[in-house]
């Protein structure tokens, strides 16, 4: 149980906090952590606009997860990074279910009801529709 952990992240502070919880669990259970990041339409647009070419864009995206990756690697845990394209919620749900993870760890921005209504809550969607247990880190 909890050997194959999926860490859904956007490179933000919340997701770094979520990472440390994922590491704790992986260490106890001797498991592995896969990082997943979803590039949505608007992110594509601004990344391509600011990037010189697609290699540059890819490099910059990978750079974003370096702190989290090093943190996981330093803890002696094997780690892979996956980039998905589409809407964050559904993409993560599909990926987690298809690849049969034991646990999904996700950070929460801690939005109130109004913010959730306007901005939408990715962690809420994951919680509702992923088949395995989900750890939402506040």
């Amino acid at each position: 149980m909890y050997k194959k952990i999926l860490l859904a992240t956007d490179g933000s502070e919340h997701s770094i906090r979520a990472a440390s919880h994922a590491i704790e669990i992986a260490q106890v259970k001797n498991g592995s952590i896969d990082i997943v990041y979803v590039v949505d339409g608007n992110t594509s647009k601004s990344d391509v606009l600011h990037g010189i070419d697609k290699y540059e864009v890819k490099k910059e995206r990978e750079e974003k997860f370096k702190p989290i990756r090093t943190k996981i690697k330093e803890a002696g845990i094997s780690c892979e990074t996956h980039f998905l394209h589409g809407e964050p919620g559904p993409s993560i749900v599909e990926f987690a279910n298809d690849n049969q993870y034991d646990l999904v760890v996700v950070g929460s921005r801690g939005l109130n009801k109004l913010q959730t209504m306007i901005l939408g809550s990715v962690s809420h969607k994951i919680l509702k529709r992923v088949e395995c247990p989900v750890l939402v880190v506040k």
Binding site: V39, G41, S44, S46, V48, L49, H50, D53, K54, E87
Partner: protein, 487 residues
């Protein structure tokens, strides 16, 4: 066999997704095509025909399946003065010429010129475009009542809040329907699309623009066509890159340039204005599940079907609703991250971006902004790499001096270089170490010759060491020429 497979995949690999997304895009295209026509100063039909023709033609011959093209704001903004001064027929001719120029770009594989446009210029381009679309709407607010203002506000509120309920129907369409229904049934008497132009329920027909085929005509339309061709390709290739990234697939940029050109030629002959790929619509298409050629075809055909079936209703859309949609388009076109990060990026990049925006806003011409931005970037780049460093050491008995040159030696850096040598020292020999330097052009060789000559006038011998292979070749080819010619 392989090609047949590829064609089959590009057309029918995703039928359900493409048809549904195409319908969504068609619904979102209508208000934009009408609003862009009004910006350009032509009848709404001109923009609608353009979006229909371009979307259909691109479906067959574009290089980036899943990308949506049609009448766009960037292109409409370039046409305003041409339409105002010379009328629709000249616009149609200019559209055809734009297409011809773009086909040439594609044939000569010039699509890669987009890499000479620095990203700060691209950011400036989209920001300027957003500002221009926004300011083009201000005229609709002049002398209007609070009823019109509140209808614009209602449109925007629906556009931004409705997606929280469902994303299946485009929120712009919902906003337009709601606002139109309110305006019609409450009898608000605010201005509508019908007040600004006609909607005819007719398919576009082939016709040759009614203009004199003379050199004067060419002189009038060519500057517009060139600007349209460049801006169209710039936005199309940027959009293609975005769709590439969103779908994690590759596309053929030269084929896309050619396709855009042919689409514009066809559009011009069928009474439509020049267009290009649309970032916003392409993002909507991919998000709605479209990624094949069928999506663009469905979008074009369904758009025309709606206009023929519902033309009578479309003229009743209040301008307030369209202004609201255009404000949304402006907000989503603007690259807000560039404002947030403006203090973080290199200052020269920020200057280039702002200069591009200001040029466009002042001249109302996107191509001029891009041109100035590229020139300015080139100058900044040349200034940045033209900094040469020269260090020197003297031998123990002070008879010999070694100069070490670091940097790029070319036309912009040679003045600095020559000044860094001291020619009046009582020494016998000078060694110039070029291990960390690169000679780039005629000016570089000329500068070295000049240095050598000045030393020789004082009877100092000059020796070069550490030239890299390329520099040595250049020096051998043109070295001594400037000296021999008596400089």
């Amino acid at each position: 066999m392989n090609i047949a497979k590829k064609i089959k995949y590009e057309w029918f690999g995703n039928v359900r997704g493409d048809v549904l997304a195409g319908i969504v895009v068609a619904l979102a295209l209508i208000p934009e095509a009408i609003a862009f026509s009004i910006i350009a100063g032509v009848d709404p039909m001109v923009g609608l025909y353009a979006s229909f023709c371009i979307a259909v033609v691109i479906a067959f011959i574009g290089g980036r399946p899943g990308m949506i093209s049609g009448a766009t704001g960037a292109m409409a903004l370039l046409m305003i003065t041409l339409v105002a001064d010379h009328g629709l027929e000249y616009l149609l001719a200019a559209t055809i010429l734009t297409g011809i120029i773009q086909v040439l770009f594609g044939v000569f594989k010039l699509a890669s010129i987009i890499k000479f446009v620095p990203r700060s210029v691209m950011v400036g381009f989209v920001n300027a475009l957003a500002i221009m679309i926004f300011t083009s709407q201000l005229q609709h607010f002049e002398g209007e009542s609070w009823i019109m203002y509140s209808m614009v506000a209602l449109t925007l509120a629906i556009i931004y809040i409705f997606p929280r309920i469902t994303k299946a129907i485009p929120s712009t369409l919902v906003a337009i329907v709601v606002v139109t229904v309110i305006a019609v049934f409450a009898g608000l008497g605010i201005r509508t699309v019908g007040d600004l132009g006609n909607i005819s329920s007719q398919l576009p027909i082939f016709m040759i623009p009614n203009i004199p085929l003379s050199f004067e005509t060419l002189a009038i339309i060519f500057p517009y066509s060139l600007a349209l061709a460049i801006v169209g390709l710039l936005e199309s290739l940027l959009t293609a890159n975005i769709v590439d990234d969103m779908t994690d697939t590759e596309s053929n940029k030269n084929k896309e340039s050619r396709g855009q050109g042919i689409a514009n030629i066809v559009t011009g002959f069928f009474g439509g204005m020049a267009g290009c790929a649309m970032i916003g619509q392409s993002v909507i298409n991919v998000k709605s599940g479209g990624n094949g050629r069928l999506s663009s075809l469905v979008a074009g055909v369904f758009l025309m079907f709606l206009i023929i079936a519902l033309g009578g209703i479309v003229v009743q859309i209040p301008m307030a609703a369209l202004a609201g949609v255009m404000i949304m388009v402006a907000i989503s076109t603007f690259d807000w991250s560039s404002l947030r990060n403006i203090h973080k990026i290199p200052r020269t990049d920020a200057i280039v971006m702002i200069a591009t925006v200001i040029t466009v806003v002042v001249t109302h011409d996107l191509s001029k902004g891009v041109l100035l931005g590229v020139l300015l970037s080139a100058i900044f780049f040349a200034a940045k790499i033209s900094k040469v460093k020269v260090t020197h050491i003297s031998s123990v008995d002070n008879s010999k001096k070694i100069y070490k040159v670091h940097g790029q030696i070319f036309f912009a850096s040679v003045n600095d270089l020559v000044e860094k040598f001291n020619f009046n020292e009582p020494i016998k020999q000078v060694e110039i170490d070029l291990t960390n330097a690169h000679l780039w052009d005629d000016s570089a060789i000329g500068a070295l010759d000049k240095i050598e000559m000045k030393f020789e006038q004082n009877h100092v011998k000059v020796k070069y060491i550490g030239l890299n292979a390329e520099s040595r070749l250049l020096k051998r080819k043109i070295g001594g020429l400037s000296k021999a010619s008596g400089h």
